[in-house]
Amino acid sequence: MTEQIEKSIDIDVCGQICPSSLLTALREVNNHKKLLRSGQLQLNILTDNHDSINRISEATGNMGYSVKVKDRGNHYEISIAKTSVVKNF
């Protein structure tokens, strides 16, 4: 399954005022809905806000996407993709 993902897009919202990270993440998920649903794209949201990490994970998880959170040093990376195809780029 993992080889289906052709590209990933990083969206950096570190340091932005709340609720920018959550709204940006939801907007980007919506904008790339087609590619995400087909499994061709993985979105990586880079954020440093605790609350946003939990809320983005919950909201996109409820939309049916697979969500993984990784600690990347001074920020977190939330990877959003079609169920069970999240991979490490």
Partner: protein
Amino acid sequence: MDNQLIIIVISAFFGLTSGIIMHRSDFCIAGMFRDLFLFRNSPLLRSLILSITFSMLLFEVARLNGFLNHELPSSLYGLPSLTNIFGGMLFGLGMVLAGGCVVGTLYKLGAGSFPSICAFLGLLAGSALYAEFHLTWKKLSLSTRLGDAATLPQLFDLPRTLIVCVLLIFMGGFLVRWQTKGALLLPNRVKGYLQPRTAALLLAVIGSFSFILLGMPLGITTSYAKAGSFIEQLIIPGHVASLGYFQGRGFQYFSPISNQTLKAGAGPFWDGLALVQFPLILGIVFGSAVSAFNMGKLSCRMNIPFRQVFSALIGGIIMGLAARMSPACNVWHLLGGIPLLSIQSLLFTFGLFPGAWFGTFLLTRYVLKS
């Protein structure tokens, strides 16, 4: 002022622990009100209600056991006026635009948030700006006064314990329901995250000990004005000397540790307010910085969209002004005044809702545009 060092150490400790707690739980009061209008759902607001309810219980238990003998009206919470509602509205607008309230700004600043540094500068400027029209505002506040009752028990002429019990049962009912449904527990994916409900209980305990030991609940905004006046004093000392607001020392409270009534004001001098609030402010910033460093997340990102930085600065100025006009900030009113059943604090809180609604409207329409 006796035992100054003890007061400074205790207040700094309260600040430090509050900073760690708020950073770990992201206890953002501005976000709690904003999300109510943005998403029509604010899970964090339930934790705030928990904190207010628990503070009310702790204050009353402390009072009944003789540890807290604070009678209203006082310098801490005066008589209600229409200006309390207006101040609350302006404060609600400011905190949403700034991306954090007066305390939220501090813990976010401690973790390295650039917009919060701008909001902090705005808060200092706004608080100092209030001194320019303090007399006019004071007159307006007096002319729009709403009766001679400072608290709900005084208004209804009922025993305080009875009203506290009724409110505890009412709010406790909601809290038990939320707890049973798991609505107080938030989903978590972050290592080191503190559940907001735990933070709410801990902050209520810290606020209660602050009131019992230091003579005032958690609050910091008069010291924002004071810090602003220190800076203004360096630039235009003659003007500062001409402003009545910066020269007065009308604020007074009993300090249990000093065992005396301390007088204080917003001007550039060391007094009973600076003694408690400056260590608290520094403690929150330092506590949050330590917490962020410990998680490996202490960093300052400067590449923030200009609209957000501008919004934080303007929000800070509005919040600084509003905190003086209310008078006092959200933490002072929500975690101190409402548990004391202060009508002034209730009016301020009513004002927060339309203010936060308007702030959310401006934020989504003009600030967070893609």
